[in-house]
């Protein structure tokens, strides 16, 4: 089928194409304008902007901890809409089905679940497979697991460590590797309650820094396209900017991605000893080209924090609203679920401002990524409002006026003029995520790219415009019209597939037998376990 998206304003920074024109799709791919071709279907995009489908690199959309959060808070996601006829279960609040639909309506076509516990890989992929329309991917968590920590303690060769990382990525069907408060979850099991970059996990004598550096090197050497994804130590605490600064410095020339930097943008000034250190961190990011970051923007309202940083979540239990939480000591990281409401009080306002400062003070839209760390800073449904804040100084000024002056005095936000352009939005939410994840087939509108396309009708109300796409195509299927889902299709989970080293597999078999009393079969699964046609799409490692 030949489709022509006619007369839209095309914004495709990767291919340097900006301006009015047509975009052609044959079946599931974007093609160059065919000579004398007659379209089977023409979409009138006059008055619209046309971009590639958006990509979210860090959103907790599925897996053990997310599901536990659903279980903990049934009162928070009652459904209200009628039973959908064409998209079953999509009205179910916070279900996998609703997740795919809500993302698609905003023009997002690929979303990365950034915290897959290797032991719960099958569970995670089953949830992702029930997220309709969009493509998904996962990052496998390492860095608190006994196997890795023991290898580092015992000075295992970098080859062996790479073999283990490759096996983990391959067997869990991950697209990359994440380390979450490296070493802290292991230390917490030994009753350590705070943990910093140069602290040492007691039984292993291995520092957090050493774990991060080891994994960073392994990921780079294996050619995993996405750099090691780091959730730093000391998340959320006043003064955590020092930890983030030290971690940025620890990149030392190799690629490193820091997740939800907003949660580390905290200084210790003012009478509450809580202030914005965003300007300092932005300057460091600007000066460190090998580092990329995403924000984890806070937006006001009720949410729930879902994190594999079990030590941090344990210490945050007292702030739970409503007063209930789950803390799980897992095989590696485990995790914690703590519901929380961001109010327009001093602290909430400070966090909100810090995220925006980071967005606006980091110069290069190729190195700053658009996230709320869903649902930790805010649910992803806050994205349209967040786009508006980035693109409109006026919108920011209005909100600032409603926030405590004491907080705004400790932030530079009010003085920042910058407004993101649509081109910068296209870079930040399309081009750069594709590049960061090694997905050459998306994030742009060049011939040969998969036809993941979002068409937005221009509107003075940016939140409305970017919140309800006029048209969305996924792999060439028209899935959204006028902000409504038209039908389901089933995307893939994108994964790497490095071949595991046989000696490492034998070693792991022995390890599981000895330590868990179980063979490795208990943790492996065939693709058929997912029970969907082609549940996975393979992405190549760098060679």
């Amino acid at each position: 089928m030949l489709t022509k998206i006619a007369g839209g304003d095309i914004i495709d920074p990767v291919n340097g194409r900006v301006g009015k024109g047509d975009l052609w799709i044959r079946d599931d791919k974007i093609i160059a304008a065919p000579v004398g071709g007659a379209a089977d279907r023409t979409i009138d995009a006059a008055g619209c902007i046309v971009m590639a489908g958006a990509i979210d690199i860090h959103s907790h959309i599925g897996g053990g901890n997310v599901n536990t959060a659903r279980l903990l808070l049934p009162e928070q996601h009652a459904a209200h809409q009628e039973r959908p006829v064409t998209t079953p279960l999509s009205n179910a609040g916070w279900s996998t089905f609703q997740t795919g639909c809500l993302y698609a309506k905003m023009g997002f076509t690929t979303v990365v679940e950034p915290a897959m516990s290797p032991g719960a890989a099958l569970h995670t992929h089953l949830e992702l497979a029930d997220i309709p329309i969009i493509d998904k991917a996962t990052l496998a968590i390492l860095g608190n697991d006994d196997f890795l920590l023991s290898m580092i303690r015992d000075d295992a060769s970098s080859q062996m460590i790479e073999d283990y990382v490759a096996w983990t990525v391959a067997s869990t069907r991950a697209l990359g590797v994440k380390v979450i408060n490296a070493g802290a979850a292991a230390a917490f099991k030994e009753n350590v309650r705070t943990f910093s970059l140069d602290d040492v996990v007691p039984s292993y004598g291995v520092s957090s820094r050493k774990i991060v550096k080891t994994l960073q090197a392994a990921v780079d050497s294996l050619g995993v396209p996405h750099p090691l994804h780091v959730h730093c130590n000391n998340l959320g605490s006043p003064g955590s900017a020092d930890t983030a600064a030290a971690t940025i410095a620890a990149a030392e020339g190799l690629p490193l991605h820091l997740a939800h930097l907003q949660f580390y943008g905290y200084g210790t000034e003012g009478k509450r000893k809580f202030s914005s250190a965003a300007a300092r961190l932005a300057e460091l990011v600007n000066a460190t080209p090998e580092v990329t970051i995403d924000i984890g923007q806070v937006m006001f309202g009720q949410t729930v924090t879902v994190s594999s940083d079990v030590m941090r979540q344990f210490s945050a239990r007292g702030s739970a609203q409503p007063k209930k939480s789950v803390i799980h000591d897992g095989d590696g990281n485990g995790g914690g679920i703590v519901p929380y409401s961001y109010g327009k009080d001093f602290y909430g306002a400070m966090q909100w401002a810090i995220g925006l400062e980071l967005f606006l003070l980091i110069d290069d839209p190729w190195r700053v990524f658009f996230t709320t760390d869903h649902p930790n800073g805010a649910p992803f449904t806050a994205y349209p409002a967040l786009f508006e804040l980035l693109m409109s100084r006026e919108a920011r000024t209005e909100m600032i006026a409603r926030l405590p002056k004491s907080a705004m005095a400790l932030s530079t936000l009010a003085a920042i003029d910058r407004e993101y352009t649509f081109e910068e939005i296209a870079v930040m939410t399309r081009a750069s995520p594709a590049k960061l994840l090694g997905l050459t087939d998306r994030g742009h509108l060049g011939a040969g790219a998969i036809a993941d396309i979002a068409v937005y009708r221009r509107d003075g109300n940016i939140a409305k415009m970017l919140g309800q796409a006029a048209y969305v195509f996924k792999d060439g299927d028209l899935v959204v019209q006028d902000g409504e889902i038209t039908h389901y299709r089933w995307g893939k989970a994108l994964r790497l597939n490095p071949s595991p080293d046989k000696a490492m597999v034998r070693r792991l078999e022995d390890y599981h037998q000895q330590r868990y009393g179980l063979s490795l079969d208990w943790f492996n699964f065939p693709d058929s376990a997912i029970a969907r046609e082609q549940p996975f799409g393979e992405v190549a490692c760098r060679t």
């Binding site: 659903r70 279980l71 903990l72 996998t96 719960a120 006994d146 389901y488």
Partner: protein, 363 residues
């Protein structure tokens, strides 16, 4: 071999499925009870939405108590692998279901390799007559009891005594317990919703919270039913809610009293019961002329069922995904003795294909 019946009459699977669909289509209040694998659960929930049914586990009292712990209060939990590798004190809380006895015996036969203490002490909380699952090497668990007091009351006393408060009846062997906890690095409490009142689970979590003020401790959730907990997890991601969810009003609603399927049947609210279980279950007592559709591993029609369709057993007749309490997560299992018998999911999808609708079932 016959695989489908309408009443007592043998028929083609296709016809039985069409008849089941017709019954579902005309039912005013259909209810589903599940004892099946993950994909069976997914298919059943998708069908439940389409026909406006409520669904629950087939033997749901314990699953419901375990669910309520999470929905109402939250918990501190530990993975079974970590319990095996780290627990230097194991406390068995009440009677554990038979399916977990093997693991308990394994705990008693091994020592925690990630603990500085190379041994494991084992306690049992319960009334005087309580017995632990058989332990290895002739070991016995030290009993912590308050005579005939209930489990909840015993746990309350244990918690109070730990905090240094007076209790009306002291817990037996409390000094041993204190000594063990004081030396412990990572005590783990094994609990299940089986034979444990909900308040006891909350009281246990209170004790674990108290212990964590000074030192680490956690609870290992050993579900009363692995299928039940697996279904609860799948239901939670699919609808946002655990079991005892209903689609009577078109949207999923979670109500642990209203959608208690056994209650709905006993009170005569349900007029159609779809029972999905590879094992053969005795028909439940009921007030009205409720119709039964039975999906079961059977070679003959189920007594009293309007429709019977034979299904295979997960992990025996076909590969499956199930909850494993041994790993604390979902697990893929091969068919031990692969057969032609279809999975529950396959049969449910076949039934659903006969219910008129505009879109395909999403699972």
């Amino acid at each position: 071999m016959a695989v489908a019946w309408i009443g007592n009459r043998e028929t083609l699977v296709e016809r039985a499925a069409a008849h089941a669909a017709a019954l579902l289509g005309s039912s005013r209040c259909p209810v589903f009870s599940l004892d099946t694998d993950i994909h069976g659960t997914r298919a059943a929930i998708a069908l439940a939405e389409r026909v406006g049914a409520a669904y629950d586990h087939a033997d749901s009292a314990a699953v419901s108590r375990e669910t309520a712990l999470f929905t109402d209060k939250g918990a501190m939990t530990v993975a079974p692998g970590e319990a095996r590798r780290r627990a230097d004190v194991v406390v068995i809380v009440g009677e554990l279901p038979q399916i977990h006895h093997q693991f308990v015996s394994e705990l008693s036969a091994t020592v925690p390799d990630l603990s500085a203490k190379n041994q494991r002490e084992i306690f049992l909380v319960g009334s005087n007559g309580a017995s632990a699952p058989p332990l290895n090497n002739g070991r016995t668990a030290t009993l912590l009891s308050c005579g005939e007091a209930s489990l909840g009351a015993t746990l309350a006393a244990l918690r109070a005594q730990w905090k240094g408060r007076q209790t009306s009846q002291p817990v037996s062997n409390f000094d041993d317990f204190t000594k063990a906890l004081e030396a412990a690095h990572f005590p783990v409490f094994l609990f299940s919703g089986d034979a444990t009142e909900g308040l006891a689970l909350e009281m246990l979590q209170g004790l674990i919270t108290d212990l964590n003020r000074k030192s680490r401790a956690s609870g290992l959730h050993l579900p009363a039913s692995e299928n039940g907990w697996g279904s609860a997890l799948a239901s939670t991601w699919m609808t946002g809610f655990p079991l005892r969810t209903g689609f009577a009003r078109g949207v999923p609603e979670f109500d642990p009293w209203r959608y208690d399927v056994a209650r709905m049947i006993a009170d005569g609210e349900a007029d159609l019961h779809l029972r999905i279980s590879s094992s053969i279950v005795q028909p439940q007592k009921k007030k009205n002329r409720m119709a039964l559709i039975a999906l079961a591993k059977t070679e003959e029609p189920i007594a009293g069922a309007a429709v019977t369709i034979a299904i295979g057993e997960a992990g025996v007749d076909h590969e499956a995904v199930v909850y494993s309490s041994r790993t604390g997560s979902l697990r893929s299992i091969d068919a031990r003795a692969a057969s032609e018998l279809p999975s529950a999911a396959t049969v449910i999808r076949l039934v659903a294909s006969h219910v008129s609708a505009e879109a395909a079932l999403p699972c």
